[in-house]
């Protein structure tokens, strides 16, 4: 294995692997991805993987997410089948207060080109017949969908490797030295030098930042998810809270807990999640759960992506975000532009780490 690279990416999850792949499309100069475990062993492998846009707020963040969602069809053509399905997204609500919110949301987003329809009870039930008949309405947007996160990261990795990217896994970075014009990255399995260094550590970004004396304000948020046995296809849309996968299993969950890196599943949240499932889709009562799992999400202190150059350290870039699945095609594209051209085709100033200074 070489010891000198043009670019080293720390973190091989959906964000790091997307950057590696997109960068390798444009340049043949050496790229190394370092992962402390194995890609998919963390956040990227424990998600429902919605590609979700329509009720992200504020509108500029929804717009950013939309650009990424729109890249998915093209991405699937390039890296292969990732089971991306633009199902459309449905957020049911059960009280009139939420309808008011939904109407305001639809009005505001019309201006940025995201079409949201506020469905009546009858329209919601016509679209998704298995929804609870007690539903009051739903927001609907055709732009949302879902993807198989395992296929996605695997395809990013395979395509990147085919383009010459090297991966070193089970290889934790222990020290980073900033020298003039280069970085020395010390890892458990060896020491590497590079010109560009990209921190894509997801939930571990704060720890990674400490190695370069930069505060990356990312916290952890636990989500617990239930998986059912495969059922015949009966859900048409990605519902905010649950979705049916290609193989028929239903993934259920939308819980948030601050538990640090503790990946336990707990009976109270499993029961609450089961309650949500039967509340949204009563027919699920008879479906069997085969597994509960939990994932630790990366949550920036203000909720928004942290992207771009780190001021004061030349050639040091951070890409850390919540909603990494939705945003990965766009982040990979933009970070590639930033490295090769020094600027991005879509402004990312808003997402600069300098906002926390």
């Amino acid at each position: 294995m070489d010891t000198s690279y043009q670019t080293i990416i720390i973190g091989g999850g959906v964000v790091g692997s997307s950057i590696a792949y997109h960068l390798s499309e444009q340049t043949k100069e050496g790229i190394l991805v370092l992962d402390q475990k194995f890609p998919l062993s963390g956040t990227s492998g424990s998600t429902q993987a919605w590609v979700w846009v329509h009720n992200k707020t504020p509108s500029w963040y929804a717009e950013f997410s939309m650009y990424s969602a729109e890249l998915y069809s093209y991405l699937s053509k390039k890296i292969g089948d990732v089971e991306f399905k633009r199902t459309g997204g449905l957020s049911p609500f059960f009280n009139e207060v939420d309808r008011e919110k939904a109407l305001r949301l639809a009005e505001a987003y019309e201006q940025i080109g995201i079409k949201i329809k506020v469905l009546s009870r009858e329209e919601a039930l016509e679209k998704e017949p298995f929804l609870n008949p007690a539903v009051v309405g739903a927001t609907y947007s055709a732009i949302d969908g879902n993807v198989n996160p395992f296929r996605l990261v695997d395809r990013y990795m395979r395509a990147a490797k085919k383009n010459g990217v090297q991966y070193s896994t089970y290889n934790k970075v222990t020290e980073i030295q900033k020298l003039l014009g280069k970085f020395i990255v010390v890892s458990e399995k060896g020491t590497f030098a590079c010109k560009n260094l990209i921190l894509a550590g997801g939930t571990w970004s704060r720890e990674l930042g400490k190695l370069v004396d930069v505060n990356i304000p990312i916290n952890q948020l636990r989500g617990q998810i239930l998986v059912t046995e495969p059922l015949k296809p009966f859900l048409n849309y990605t519902i905010s809270g649950l979705r049916q996968a290609f193989n028929g299993e239903v993934l259920i969950g939308y819980s948030m807990e601050q538990e640090g890196f503790n990946r336990a599943t707990t009976l109270d949240v499993i029961q609450e999640t089961a309650n949500m499932a039967v509340h949204y889709v009563p027919a699920l009562r008879k479906a069997k759960v085969v597994r509960a799992f939990s994932g630790i999400r990366a949550m920036p202190e203000d909720g928004f992506p942290i992207l771009g150059k780190i001021p004061g350290v030349e050639n040091l870039i951070v890409a850390a975000t919540h909603s990494g699945v939705t945003l990965s095609p766009l982040i990979g594209t933009l970070m590639t532009e930033l490295i090769l051209d020094g600027e991005t085709s879509i402004p990312i100033d808003r997402y600069s780490i300098s906002r926390f200074a």
Binding site: T57, S91, L105, S255, V289
Partner: protein, 109 residues
Amino acid sequence: MDKSTIICRCEEISYEEIEDVLTNGATTFDDLKRLTRCGMGPCQSKICHSLVADMIHEKTNTPYFQIPLPRMRMPLSPIKLETLATNSTSFSSVKSVMDEVELEDGKVR
């Protein structure tokens, strides 16, 4: 075992498919589970995990005692959602997406 031997009966994953990801850098059961779906079916790896351990041992020379077991999760054996549900409709850790849409002066932020 030959290349076409089915290792995971629930998901019908063959020896060859597991061999492929082991040569691509996967080293533990959970690594290859995510890449192949081996062990993700109704039995949750109760049937295939020892066969897979044999393969990991064979391909990576890792001694058996150093091969981690698959991570087991609740409910261990499939259980109906209605058995888990308490039928409450008040939620604390579980959110709704609409809860996250905040209005400021009657407008979306």
